[in-house]
C-alpha cells in the first residue's frame, strides 16, 4: 500500500485547515431543523414530569401514587425514592418520582396528585462559614473523631520565608458555587422495543458521551451493551455535566419498558439547576510574600468550600495556581453540605484556583507598587510542573495581550481609577490546561461514486466537532467541504471519546487524518496501477489526483476504480506522531468600570490571547474563546447558586434570579490565537476549557485596580461591591 506520510503538511499548504470555516450544521441549528433530545416526538411519545424533594435533608415517610395513577392519561409512575430503605433525600431537588402521561400537563397533574410526606432532618447548606461547619461536625475526621484536612502540604520553610520577605500580603478570597445551566436540560427519550433483531433500547440521550453511556443503560436492565443504541446528534449544552446515563435516563427507559411507549423525560428548569451537578465553591485565607523586585518567595493558604454531600472542595494540591514558589504551605478542608452534588464544570478546579491565586498576586503587586504584568514576568522562572514549559509563551502572550488592551496607555496605580463615582481599571490573569487527545477512532469510507465519509461515535457539544472532522477529511481527500460527510452522534459508529477536558478536537482530527491518509493511500495504489504512475508521487487537491504537479485523473475517475466495496480505513488516537500534543497557557486582561454608587460593574473590553497548537478551524475555535470570556463574565459578576440557610433550599433555581449576562453586558471582546510556527508544528491541542479559566480573576483584578478595594468573593454582585466599598 502507498503509505502517505502522517503529518498535517507544511503550514500554508491547506485549503481548509487553519481557515475560518462556517460550521456545516449551522443552518440546521439556526433554522430550528436540528433535532435535540428534547425535540424528539416519536409517535406515541409519553411526557414525563418529576416530583422532587423540597427539603435539604429529609426522609420520605409517606408516598402514595394511587391518585396519580388514576388520572386519565397517566400511564405510569416511577419511584426514585420509597419509604423504608431508600427514603433518604439529601438535597433540595433530589428526584422522588416521575409520572409519564399523554401530555406534559397531565403528567404534572399526576405529580400534584402524589401524596408525599417527609420527616424533615437538620441541614447544613452554608458553604462559606467554616466555623459553623466545624460546630455542625461537617468537616473530615479520622477514626478517632479528630478533624483532619483534605490536604496539608508543606514545601520548604514558608514561615521563615515570610519572616525574611521584603513584602507580605494577606487576604481573603473566594468563589461561590454555580450550576451548569445547560439550556437543554438533562434527559432522555427512550424507546423499548423487543419485537425484532434491532436494539432493544434506543436512548436518544442528551449526552457528552455517545460511546460510553450505552453500557450504563445495558447493565441497569440486564441487557447486552449491543442491545442499546444511543443517539445524540445535537446537545443543548453540557459543560461537563452530561457524561452518564443517569437515574433519570434509567427511569425513562424503565417507563418505556413498562408502557410499551416511547418516553421523553427531561428535567424541569429548577431541577436542572439543582440536581445534575454544580461547580464547587472555594474560599481561602492567603498569605503571599515576595522580594522587593516581585519575586514570590512564599505562599500559604487555608482553603475551604463545598462540593455537596461528599465534603470536598477545590483541589488544594494545585495551589498556588501556575506559579510555584520555593516555600509553600497549603491546607484544604471540605464541608459536607446538604446541597446538590457537584460534577465536572468546564475546566474543573481551574477557574477557582485562578480566582484565588491571581487575585492575591495582583494585591501583592499593588503592595509592591508594581504592575501585575511585571510581577508575572518576574516569576516566569518559577512555574509549576505542568506550566513550566510555557514560560516563554506566557511572556509573549502577556506582551501581545497588553498591546491589544493598550495596557501601557491605560494602566494606573491601584485605586487611581478616577475621581468621579465611576472608576475604571485594568486586570490580568493567566491559566494553563492539558488538552491532550485520548483513545478515539475514526472510520473513513471512500465510495466508487466519489463520496467520502468519516464516522465516529462522538458528539458535537457546539464546539464544531462535526465541522473539524469534515474539514480534515475534505482536506486530506482534496475535496471541497460540502462533498464530504461527517457522521457522529451514534454509538453504532466506531468508538469516540467522551467530550470532556478539551480532548476531543485532537482525538477526532488525529484519528480522521490517519484514517483518511490510509484510505487515500489505498486509492493511490489503484490509481498507480491504472495510470502507470508511481504511487509515492501522488497527491490530492482540487478534486483531482496529481503526480508531481501533473494531473493524473479526477477524484471521480480515481474513485471509479474502487468497485462495489468502499475503501474503509480506521484511524486511531492518540498516536505520538506529531499530529497532536498537549499543554496550553493563555492570558486574559479586563478593562472594567465600577459604579461606586450602585455597585454595578461594566465590562469595557476583554482581551484573550490563547495558544492551542495548530488551529483547525479558526472560526469555531474563536467562538470557544468568546464563549469562555462570556461565561467568565457571568461567574465574575452575577452568576451563583444561592442557598437559603433557613430552609436549606436553592432559592434562585430559575432563569429570572439565576443571573446570566445578556447581549448588552459583554463589552468589547478581543480574541487572538498565539500561533507562531512553533505552535503550528506541535499539532492540535484542545481548547474548550482554557478560555473560561482566568476571566473571573482578570475581572476581579480590574475591579480592585479601579476602586482600590478588593471585592473578595465572586460573583461580584452589586451588593458585594457596595459591601466591600463600605468596609474599606
Amino acid at each position: 500500500m502507498a503509505e502517505r506520510e502522517v503529518t498535517w503538511g507544511p503550514r500554508g499548504s491547506h485549503t481548509l485547515i487553519g481557515k475560518e470555516v462556517s460550521r456545516i450544521d449551522g443552518v440546521e441549528k439556526a433554522s430550528g431543523a436540528a433535532k435535540y433530545t428534547n425535540d424528539m416526538n416519536q409517535p406515541g411519545t409519553l411526557f414525563a414530569r418529576l416530583l422532587t424533594c423540597t427539603h435539604a435533608k429529609a426522609k420520605v415517610t409517606r408516598l402514595n401514587v394511587d391518585k396519580a395513577k388514576a388520572i386519565a392519561g397517566v400511564h405510569t409512575v416511577y419511584l426514585f425514592k420509597d419509604i423504608g430503605e431508600n427514603a433518604e433525600c439529601n438535597y433540595d431537588g433530589e428526584l422522588v418520582a416521575a409520572v409519564a402521561a399523554e401530555t406534559a400537563d397531565i403528567a404534572e397533574d399526576g405529580v400534584r396528585a402524589i401524596e408525599v410526606a417527609y420527616e424533615v432532618l437538620p441541614h447544613v447548606v452554608d458553604e462559606q462559614d467554616l466555623e459553623a461547619a466545624r460546630a455542625a461536625k461537617r468537616l473530615k475526621y479520622d477514626d478517632d473523631g479528630k478533624e483532619v484536612p483534605l490536604v496539608d502540604r508543606t514545601v520548604g520553610d514558608p514561615d521563615k520565608a515570610i519572616a525574611d520577605a521584603d513584602v507580605v500580603h494577606t487576604g481573603y478570597y473566594g468563589i461561590h458555587t454555580i450550576s451548569h445551566m445547560c439550556l437543554e436540560p438533562h434527559g432522555a427519550h427512550c424507546t423499548w422495543d423487543e419485537s425484532g433483531h434491532g436494539p432493544k433500547l434506543t436512548a436518544r440521550h442528551s449526552t457528552q458521551a455517545v460511546s460510553t453511556t450505552g453500557p450504563q443503560f445495558a447493565s441497569q436492565f440486564g441487557l447486552d451493551a449491543s442491545d442499546v443504541r444511543v443517539i445524540c446528534n445535537y446537545i443543548g449544552g453540557g459543560f461537563g455535566s452530561k457524561f452518564a446515563a443517569d437515574i433519570w435516563g434509567w427511569a425513562a427507559a424503565q417507563m418505556s419498558k413498562d408502557t410499551g411507549r416511547p418516553v421523553r423525560l427531561m428535567l424541569d428548569r429548577a431541577t436542572e439547576l439543582k440536581t445534575p451537578g454544580t461547580r464547587p465553591s472555594g474560599f481561602a485565607n492567603v498569605t503571599v510574600a515576595a522580594t522587593k523586585d516581585g519575586k514570590i518567595t512564599a505562599w500559604k493558604s487555608h482553603h475551604w468550600g463545598t462540593n455537596g454531600p461528599q465534603g470536598g472542595t477545590i483541589d488544594g494540591n494545585q495551589m498556588p495556581y501556575v506559579f510555584d514558589p520555593p516555600n509553600k504551605h497549603v491546607v484544604s478542608q471540605g464541608i459536607a453540605t446538604d446541597c446538590g452534588p457537584n460534577r465536572a464544570w468546564r475546566a474543573p478546579n481551574h477557574p477557582q484556583l485562578c480566582a484565588i491565586t491571581d487575585t492575591a498576586l495582583t494585591d501583592l503587586a499593588a503592595k509592591l507598587n508594581m504592575s501585575p504584568v511585571d510581577l508575572y514576568k518576574a516569576n516566569l522562572d518559577q512555574l509549576d510542573d505542568t506550566a513550566k514549559e510555557n514560560s516563554k509563551l506566557y511572556a509573549a502572550e502577556l506582551d501581545r495581550a497588553a498591546e491589544l488592551m493598550e495596557w501601557e496607555k491605560k494602566w494606573h496605580a491601584h485605586g487611581k481609577g478616577g475621581n468621579g463615582p465611576v472608576k475604571r481599571g485594568l486586570g490580568v490573569a493567566l491559566h494553563r490546561w492539558g488538552g491532550q487527545s485520548v483513545k478515539c477512532s475514526s472510520e473513513v469510507r471512500i465510495f466508487a461514486d466519489g463520496g467520502a465519509q468519516a464516522s465516529i461515535g462522538s458528539q458535537d457539544l457546539g464546539t464544531g466537532t462535526r465541522t473539524v472532522i469534515a474539514m480534515v477529511l475534505a482536506e486530506t481527500c482534496g475535496l471541497p467541504l460540502e462533498k464530504v460527510k461527517a457522521r457522529l452522534g451514534s454509538n453504532e459508529y466506531v468508538y469516540g471519546n467522551p467530550s470532556g477536558g478539551s480532548i476531543t478536537v485532537g482525538s477526532v482530527t488525529g484519528a480522521t487524518r490517519r484514517a483518511a491518509l490510509e484510505a487515500t493511500g489505498i486509492l493511490f495504489d489503484k490509481v498507480a496501477e491504472k495510470y502507470k504512475v508511481d504511487a509515492k508521487t501522488l497527491s490530492l487537491g482540487d478534486e483531482a489526483v496529481w503526480s508531481d504537479k501533473k494531473k493524473v485523473c479526477s477524484w471521480k475517475d480515481a474513485c471509479r476504480l474502487i468497485g462495489p466495496e468502499p475503501i474503509t480505513a480506521t484511524g486511531p488516537s492518540p498516536v505520538a506522531d506529531g499530529l497532536t500534543s498537549k499543554l496550553v497557557g493563555g492570558v486574559q486582561m479586563a478593562d472594567v468600570s465600577v459604579d461606586t454608587e450602585t455597585g454595578v460593574i461594566r465590562i469595557n473590553r476583554m482581551v484573550a490571547v490563547q495558544d492551542c497548537g495548530l488551529v483547525i478551524n479558526e472560526k469555531t475555535a474563536k467562538s470557544q474563546v468568546y464563549g469562555g470570556l462570556i461565561m467568565g463574565i457571568a461567574y465574575a459578576t452575577n452568576e451563583e447558586r444561592i442557598m437559603d440557610n433557613n430552609s436549606g433550599r436553592y432559592i434562585n433555581a430559575d432563569m429570572e434570579t439565576y443571573k446570566l449576562p445578556r447581549i448588552g453586558d459583554i463589552g468589547e471582546l478581543i480574541v487572538e490565537f498565539y500561533q507562531p510556527d512553533s505552535e503550528y508544528n506541535r499539532g492540535v491541542v484542545g481548547l474548550g476549557e482554557p478560555p473560561v479559566i482566568s476571566t473571573g480573576a482578570a475581572i476581579a483584578n480590574a475591579v480592585a485596580n479601579a476602586t482600590g478595594v478588593r471585592v473578595p468573593v465572586l460573583p461580584m454582585t452589586p451588593k458585594r461591591v457596595l459591601d466591600a466599598l463600605a468596609q474599606a
Binding site: S22, G26, S31, G32, R62, E184, M631, M655, R662, I666
Partner: protein, 205 residues
C-alpha cells in the same frame, strides 16, 4: 416535622404558570361562548372541564386545527403537537427567549400564552425563515458570524433578530442590545449575534 407537603414538583407555592393554565378554562369558556355551537354556549364560565377542545391556529400561513386542552401553551402546541421544535422549551417562565415566535408580527415568548389565546392571529415560527436551501439573511448571517455553539438558544435569537430588524432595519448596537436583551445564551455567542445584526442593519447607518 411537617407531616404533609403540598407536592408541587420542584416549584414552591403559587406560580405564574399555574395562574396562566388555570385561566385557560375561563378563556376557553369565553371563546366558546362568543363562538360556535349553541349547546356549548350554555356552558357556564369556569366550569369547563379540562378536556380537549378544537383550537384553530394559523401557523406559517397554514391553518391547523388541534384538539387540545385549553390550558395548553402555544409552546407546547407548536413543539409537541405540530412538531415545530425550532422554538425551544428552556425556562418555561418567560425569562430566556428560547421559545420566541412572531405573533401578528411581534416577538412573543411562546411559553407566555395559551394556544387558545392565539386563535385568529398570524403565528410565524423560525421554520418559516427557511425553505429548502433558501434561508433568511438572519440565518445565513448567524452561520457566517458563527453566532451559535450548542444552538439551543439560536432559533429564538434568530426570530428575535428578524423581528427587531423588521421593525427597525437600521438598528444601532444599543438598540440591538435592547432588542435582543430578552434572550439568553449560555455558551456565550452574543458577540457573533451582535455582529450579524449589525451587519444586516449596517450598524444603524
Amino acid at each position: 416535622m411537617r407531616d404533609q407537603d403540598h407536592p408541587v414538583g420542584s416549584h414552591s407555592g403559587f406560580n405564574r404558570r399555574d395562574f396562566l393554565k388555570g385561566s385557560g378554562a375561563a378563556v376557553a369558556a369565553t371563546a366558546i361562548a362568543t363562538g360556535e355551537a349553541e349547546a356549548q354556549a350554555k356552558t357556564k364560565a369556569n366550569v369547563v372541564p379540562a378536556r380537549a377542545v378544537d383550537i384553530k391556529l394559523k401557523i406559517n400561513g397554514k391553518n391547523e386545527t388541534l384538539k387540545l386542552e385549553p390550558r395548553t401553551t402555544l409552546l407546547d402546541a407548536l413543539r409537541n403537537w405540530l412538531n415545530l421544535t425550532g422554538c425551544k422549551e428552556v425556562c418555561d417562565t418567560t425569562n430566556c427567549g428560547a421559545c420566541t415566535v412572531q405573533v401578528n408580527g411581534k416577538a412573543l415568548y411562546a411559553c407566555s400564552v395559551l394556544a387558545i389565546e392565539c386563535e385568529g392571529k398570524e403565528i410565524k415560527t423560525v421554520e418559516a425563515l427557511r425553505s429548502g436551501d433558501k434561508v433568511d439573511e438572519v440565518i445565513s448571517g448567524f452561520v457566517k458570524h458563527d453566532a451559535m455553539q450548542c444552538g439551543f438558544c439560536t432559533p429564538g435569537f434568530v426570530v428575535a433578530t428578524r423581528t427587531l430588524l423588521d421593525k427597525n432595519p437600521k438598528a444601532t448596537r444599543k438598540e440591538i442590545d435592547a432588542g435582543l436583551g430578552g434572550n439568553i445564551c449560555r455558551c456565550g455567542t452574543y458577540d457573533g449575534i451582535a455582529a450579524c445584526a449589525m451587519e444586516i442593519s449596517k450598524g444603524g447607518a
